[in-house]
């Protein structure tokens, strides 16, 4: 009998273990689904953890209103295929309800506002755990993130109050009002995720693969898709490029990379040869300050 168990099997086993702990320890968990490859991977892992049963949590999407239409279409198709409950809450509604100011400037980002909608939806459904697809390799401030990360009533993350995390014994006990963010793929790198997508033949939104797109070239040299959400002026240089996206966040702050990679194998080769970190390549907002991510986390950002 063959007992082969490779490194992807190990990562997968750990993630399934974490998902089942969420199911066992919490009363009202949710899976935060962005439509990106990391959350699509989470959905795959949830299938492995809970089928033939239903997921013990709904999928929750925080729609910034700046999403790529391809991603929204993919989200709806996937939820229908899975037969799982999808809850969508729009940042736009939060802006109206709370009288907030929308993002301004050339590339108005709703990343910060997303946090408000997330906290609203947590309150609405009294979620006690929110599963997310963040990985420790994404960014320095994430490197110390726990797999079960405790947030106070305001969604804030206090680096000093995090619990030591021992073995694979997760402590999800919380007081009223607190909730836990759970990161089952913390130990995966971008490359691991792509290797897994390849092995499991996981379907992704088209925008992850090379396609022609009309882009504006930012002064920093990054390529931003031209969408109705950004403001162009006469000095802007636009051109049609062969691009793909490495992450699929808010269209106003997620840059495309030039690439001819049209299959998962091509992308894996691309990652191995280009060696630019995912965030470095594609997130406009993290570059504003080195501690930007950390501040967002303290304020309840995922």
């Amino acid at each position: 009998m063959s007992r082969s168990f490779d490194y992807l099997d190990h990562l997968e086993a750990q993630s399934i273990h974490i998902l089942r702990e969420v199911a066992g320890q919490f009363e009202r968990p949710a899976l935060l689904f962005s439509g990106g490859k990391d959350s699509i991977t989470l959905v795959k892992l949830a299938e492995k953890a809970f089928r033939p049963g239903k997921f013990p949590f709904p999928l929750v999407h925080i729609d910034t209103g700046h999403n790529f239409p391809e991603v929204i279409a993919f989200r709806d198709k996937l939820a229908a295929q899975l037969g799982e409950k999808l809850i969508v809450r729009k940042v736009e509604d939060t802006i109206l309800r709370q009288g907030l100011k929308d993002g301004t400037g050339k590339y108005p980002s709703r990343n910060a506002l997303q946090t408000n909608t997330l906290l609203e939806v947590i309150e609405e459904f009294e979620f006690d755990a929110c599963i997310g697809g963040a990985r420790r390799d994404e960014e320095k401030a994430r490197a110390k993130e726990r797999i079960f990360s405790i947030r106070d009533e305001f969604g804030s993350w206090d680096p000093k109050r995090q619990r030591p995390e021992l073995w694979d014994t997760y402590n999800g006990a919380i007081r009223k009002g607190e909730n836990v963010r759970v990161f089952p793929i913390s130990n995966w790198t971008e490359l691991d995720v792509w290797n897994y997508i390849q092995r499991e033949k996981i379907e992704l939104p088209d925008i992850y693969f090379s396609h022609s797109r009309n882009c504006v070239v930012t002064p920093g040299g990054q390529l931003l898709a031209i969408t109705p959400h950004i403001r162009l002026d006469s000095e802007d240089i636009t051109s049609v490029r062969e691009v793909r996206f490495r992450t699929v966040g808010d269209a106003t702050c997620t840059a495309a990379v030039e690439s001819l990679a049209s299959t998962v194998e091509d992308i894996i080769q691309d990652i191995l040869t280009t060696k630019i970190s995912e965030r470095g390549a594609t997130r406009l907002d993290d570059r504003l300050s080195e501690a930007a991510m950390e501040d967002r986390k303290k304020n309840g950002y995922f």
Binding site: H17, P52, R136, L191
Partner: protein, 442 residues
């Protein structure tokens, strides 16, 4: 910038398995530099991060790339100039994926190292060649031993500052061997390195022709890690019960969980603990496919022949293998992680795998002096103390001694009010006959 060549690598998918390791050293022994060197020389650093590094290193007098910046994280730490917790770093070579738990060396150190060590297959203990084995080395080695880390590498760093003298290296190795013996550390490997210059980290040293052994990375890539859980006795705890209640799966009741050690075969006679009921494994599913055999650490779904209603926390073991301990009176080693002291009579929540029970502290047997390893009597435990204690639990626990089986011998204690994790516990061998008593409800 001039002079900085970006490394380039195109290796992938042959990666076989994962090695999780921890690095331990006193402040300034060169831990950050070593990790930076491993990441840098194995080409795991992205170009944009190198640029940032280069920008940050520009203010330094010698202008040399400060590789330690690669492992520096949160702003609070940048301000204090120290790291405050365990940070995880990842890199891979064609052979392995590596997960580094980087625990910093200062006051909180025991707690952080214990946390990092709980999941480590290997520990790199750094020793400054100029200082040799110091008090801190005792502490790090004690924790490594307590946490049952299977492999130890003593990296004698800053060899460039002792003129790459082999006598210095061999002297330190001999000193350390004495320590290893006291702590019953078996697999100890010694490597002379210079993290700063790069000798014997990834590339063999030209300065130490007298050393013909492997470089640190070679060793990390090839050392056999103890992944022979399948050879252990089978241990399983129900994590979650899958009951679809749909037409297609009307009577389906699957017990989901991870196989913590050992193997299960279809048809195996098993015992449910602590209830003591015997039954047979009707079928085993792995990722929704029926299999003849499952092995640790696979996530599985088990089905039983008899209609027994198990819930989260119930254990399954094979009747023809060594039985685990089943008892309410436990003895264990703990690392105390809270600022509030532990005292006899205190109550805590105890989490062991998927079981949570109440527990009361019966006795503190002794505290271990982390430098001399002497046993001291005490009436309370303070933050970072390592001690042996006795607890009584509200319900029986099903476990093995930590030394025999890390997965089923480990537990945590939780404060009943704050719910903070306050201790790491490593169980000791206990009485075995209790499973015959079937007075316990499932």
């Amino acid at each position: 910038m001039a002079g900085l060549k970006f490394p380039h690598s195109t290796h992938n998918t042959l990666i076989m398995n994962i090695l999780k390791f921890i690095t331990a050293g006193s402040v300034d022994d060169g831990k950050s530099t070593l990790i930076g060197r491993l990441l840098f020389d194995s080409k795991a650093v992205s170009h944009d991060i190198l640029h940032t590094l280069e920008r940050q290193s520009r203010n330094k007098p010698d202008g040399v790339l400060d590789l330690s910046l690669l492992t520096d994280g949160l702003r609070a730490e940048r301000e204090q100039g120290i790291t405050i917790d365990v940070a995880y770093k990842y890199f891979n070579t064609p052979r392995r994926k590596f997960i580094i738990a980087d625990a910093p060396g200062h006051v909180q150190y025991t707690r952080n190292m214990v946390t990092g060590a709980s999941n480590a297959d290997l520990a790199i203990i750094l020793v400054d060649a100029r200082q040799g084995v110091v008090e801190q080395t005792h502490r790090h080695s004690l924790v490594a031993s307590l946490m049952g880390i299977p492999q130890i590498v003593v990296a004698v760093n800053k060899m460039d500052l002792v003129e790459y003298d082999e006598k210095v290296f061999y002297h330190i190795a001999a000193e350390y061997q004495k320590l290893a013996q006291k702590l019953d550390l078996k697999d100890v490997k010694f490597i002379p390195i210079s993290a700063y210059v790069g000798d014997n980290v990834v590339k063999p040293s030209k300065n130490m022709a007298w050393y013909s052994g492997e470089t640190l990375l070679d060793y990390l890539e090839t050392v056999t890690v103890n992944q022979n859980w399948p050879q252990y006795d089978a241990r399983f705890q129900v994590q979650y019960v899958i009951r679809p209640r749909t037409e297609a799966f009307h009577d389906y009741r699957g017990y989901a969980g991870a196989l913590r050690s050992g193997t299960f075969k279809k048809g195996d006679r098993v015992r449910v603990l602590p209830a003591g009921i015997e039954t047979t494994l009707k079928s085993i599913e792995v990722h929704q496919k029926e299999v003849e055999e499952a092995f640790a650490p696979q996530p599985v779904v088990l089905h039983l022949e008899d209609d027994i209603d198990l819930s989260r926390g119930a254990s399954l073991v094979k009747i023809n293998e060594l039985q685990p301990s089943v008892t309410q009176n436990i003895e264990l080693d703990v690392c105390w992680m809270s600022e509030r002291p532990l005292k006899p009579g205190d109550r805590y929540l105890l989490r062991h795998n998927t079981t949570t029970v109440k527990a009361i502290v019966k006795e503190i047997l002794y505290r271990v002096d982390i430098h001399t390893f002497e046993h001291q009597s005490t009436d309370q435990l303070a933050l970072n103390d390592i001690a042996r204690i006795r607890l009584r639990t509200a319900l029986p626990l099903v476990f093995d001694a930590y030394k025999q089986n890390r997965a089923s011998g480990s537990l945590i204690l939780i404060n009943e009010n704050t719910f903070d994790t306050v201790a790491a516990g490593m169980l000791l061998e206990a009485q075995k006959e209790a499973y015959l008593v079937s007075e316990f409800a499932i």
